[in-house]
Amino acid sequence: MFFARIASLSQIGLAVLAPALTPVLASAPAAAQSYPSKPITIVEGFPAGSGLDIIGRIIQGPLEKALGGTIVFDYKSGAGGNVASEYVAKATPDGYTILFGTAGTHGINASLYKKLSFDVEADFTPIGPVVDVPNVLTVNPKIVDAKTVTEFIAILKKQPGKLNYGSSGNGASTHLGFAQFNVAAGIDMVHIPYKGSPPAIQAMLNGETCCQFAQLQTVLGQHKAGTLRLIAMSTSKRVPLLPDIPTIGETLKGFESVTWYGFFGPKGLDAAIVNKINSALKTVLEDKEVVDKLAAIGNGVRYETPEQFKATVKKDRAQWAEVVKKSGATVD
């Protein structure tokens, strides 16, 4: 306690001195060169332990090594990740506040939420994606005993509007991906949102829902035990972890619903810093150990340059906007 007080008193001393010194010390080029000179805060729009968090934790160590600085995670969950997005959009663009965003926060939410206080493109500097997260069409074989997408569609067509599909939340990629599938396959089902993926999977297990789009890692355990059946991936290519499972696109031509996770800075982030983080990401995503760890839970690494990532965000925003419009989903 005594030392604490000393520490605090010296903080007070610093507080008096620091404002006087800051203008002298801070100049832009030097900032980029010495970056990172203090811990980098990575903001996540979902609670600790979420799928996003797991990816963040896996790359944390290697990324710290590649950047030569410490990384701290900050969870600001709420409104489908918008609380965190808003926070970062309004943060100082010094490279010390970075958003770990998703195709949900930057693709879906832009059209799902009617009033956002920020623009997902104009108010952010895209830095680079990290992983592709496949959604997988999962069924409870006791309710819908389908083994292929064709069988699944045939069973569903016989009973329109009768069966329920679950999702991890209203407007989540698991919801809109399935809505997109419904439109593409021409089937009619009732959507039941749950609060997060564990209750949604629980509901599928006890038969409340027949099926859902699930993030691969959340159903791997059930898949191994045979209690749930994975029918097809939503990705354009098969997932290396489970090469026997086809993609939906092999049956429904052109169907693809991928979600990625990636880093964003506030708008006006110095290009030198963006490139520094991006090249650190490149190093990390080429590290075999990281690739294997991510692959073991079904995620594929995804590396893009900042420019490519910017184009991805633009394209996905437009694509999800269409899905949102067709599905009629809204969130206020």
């Binding site: 609670p47 600790a48 332990g49 979420s50 968090d53 797991i54 934790r57 896996i58 944390q60 160590g61 995670f73 969870y75 969950s77 709420g78 409104a79 489908g80 918008n82 609380v83 808003e86 799902l112 939340g169 209203n170 407007g171 039941i192 949102p193 749950y194 609060k195 997060g196 564990p198 209750p199 999977i201 629980q202 509901a203 297990l205 006890n206 038969g207 409340e208 890692q217 791997l220 355990g221 059930q222 191994k224 035990a225 209690t227 760890k293 073991a296 839970i297 989903a329 809204t330 969130v331 206020d332």
Partner: protein, 400 residues
């Protein structure tokens, strides 16, 4: 018998010096964060996650599990001594635990809570070891209508356990429902009662609410009545007297049974278990008028129930791979990061992890109950340190 072989295997793993150390560390840190109001196990486990990367998975999970039930012990300590529930499930303990403390029976209340929790923890550990499969079957038959029924039971229980006017209790239950509606609606995504504040989009935080109702309320009433001096009598004797012990035993048994069953339910049955156990005690008691004024059963039953529930809430995680609350979600994340896929096959694929965790739970509970006297006296100093600036500490916790 196979079971004893497996349990012995688990103990063998859990009793290695390294695992024993992490079990102790987890339980110790857990108790400390449980005592600090507002800093719950979720925040702590989230912060400790990076440290666990460098540990072998078994040691890491043993430590995190220890942190979780350690916090349950710590949470009831503050509930009894300063009327601030450290954890949502210790809210019920506040009612009679703090009343006992004000009568100078804080030591007895702490001992009953600790011994009751230990007993419940022991039983629940065996339940996990033996009855996981049937328990999961019960949980998996639970559908939305059943949850609705359980919720209604909880609300009625809340009315029953309130003192005074029934009409006013019902009004308060309805006001609670209105507060609970705040946030983004799950089915339609409509924000209700958020007044445009994004922080409310996830609803009103339970910790903040409990802190405001219990903590701030307690601070104000203390200031008004006793001119700022804490009202708790010194912990006179740590041991319950014969009469108290006689009343506590059957209550602990009932609480354990209720907690073990409800804890398995995904969605956090431990809180409802604590409420349910309290109501049943009050209804069955020959002296219902004592409840709220320091009834021993009112501490023993809910404490046993919430600890049993906390323990059995590991069952859905270990056997289905489905976390039933925020702490379990973090445990799941820890497993995933270590490359372990939790699910129905866990027991077969990683028997070492499964049985070592179960054995360590019992060891951890034993450690906690042995350190209880120390814990009692440290928390006494914690709480006297806390009583002057509780106001400020309380408010701090409402922020996260």
């Amino acid at each position: 018998m196979e079971l004893f072989g497996q349990l012995a295997y688990g103990f063998e793993l859990a009793l290695t010096p390294q695992n024993l150390l992490f079990c102790f560390l987890g339980a110790l840190i857990g108790t400390l964060v449980g005592v600090l109001p507002g800093l719950g196990p979720v925040a702590t486990i989230a912060m400790l996650l990076p440290i666990t990367f460098t540990l072998p998975p078994v040691a890491a999970l043993i430590m995190l599990a220890g942190l979780y039930y350690g916090a349950q012990y710590g949470g009831s300590t503050t509930a009894i001594l300063v009327n601030i529930p450290g954890e949502s499930s210790s809210v019920v303990t506040c009612l009679d635990g703090h009343a006992m403390a004000r009568k100078g029976r804080a030591g007895a209340a702490l001992a009953i809570a600790a011994l009751g929790s230990f007993f419940a923890g022991t039983v629940a550990t065996f339940i996990i070891a033996i009855f996981s499969a049937p328990m999961v079957w019960i949980a998996s038959t639970f559908q939305s209508p059943d949850y609705f029924g359980l919720m209604i039971f909880g609300l009625i229980a809340a009315v029953v356990l309130a003192q005074g006017s029934v009409v006013r209790s019902i009004v308060m239950v309805l006001v609670g429902l209105i507060i609970g509606l705040a946030g983004t609606g799950i089915t339609d995504g409509q924000s209700r009662f958020t007044f445009g504040i994004p922080y409310l989009s996830e609803g009103v935080s339970f910790v903040a609410l409990a802190m405001g109702l219990f903590g701030v309320g307690e601070v104000i009433s203390n200031l008004a009545r006793t001119f700022g001096k804490p009202e708790v009598q010194p912990v006179s004797s740590l041991w319950p007297n014969r009469d108290e012990a006689r009343r506590a035993v059957p209550a602990v048994l009932r609480g354990t049974a209720i907690g073990s069953i409800l804890g398995v339910l995904p969605g956090g049955g431990a809180l409802i278990a604590a409420f349910g156990a309290y109501v049943i005690e009050k209804k069955w008691s020959k002296r219902p008028e004592e409840f709220g004024h320091g009834a021993v059963e009112g501490v023993a039953a809910p404490e046993a129930a919430n600890n049993a529930g906390a323990q059995t809430s590991f069952i859905p995680l270990l056997t289905l791979g489905l976390p039933s609350n925020a702490v379990m979600a973090l445990m799941l994340a820890a497993m995933t990061i270590h490359g372990i896929v939790p699910g129905p096959k866990l027991m077969v694929e990683r028997p070492d992890l499964f049985w070592a965790m179960i054995a360590s739970m019992w060891i951890g509970n034993l450690m906690l109950v042995i350190t209880c006297p120390i814990d009692g006296s440290t928390s006494q100093s914690w709480s006297s340190a806390a009583s002057a600036p509780t106001a400020s500490r309380t408010r701090r916790s409402t922020c996260w």
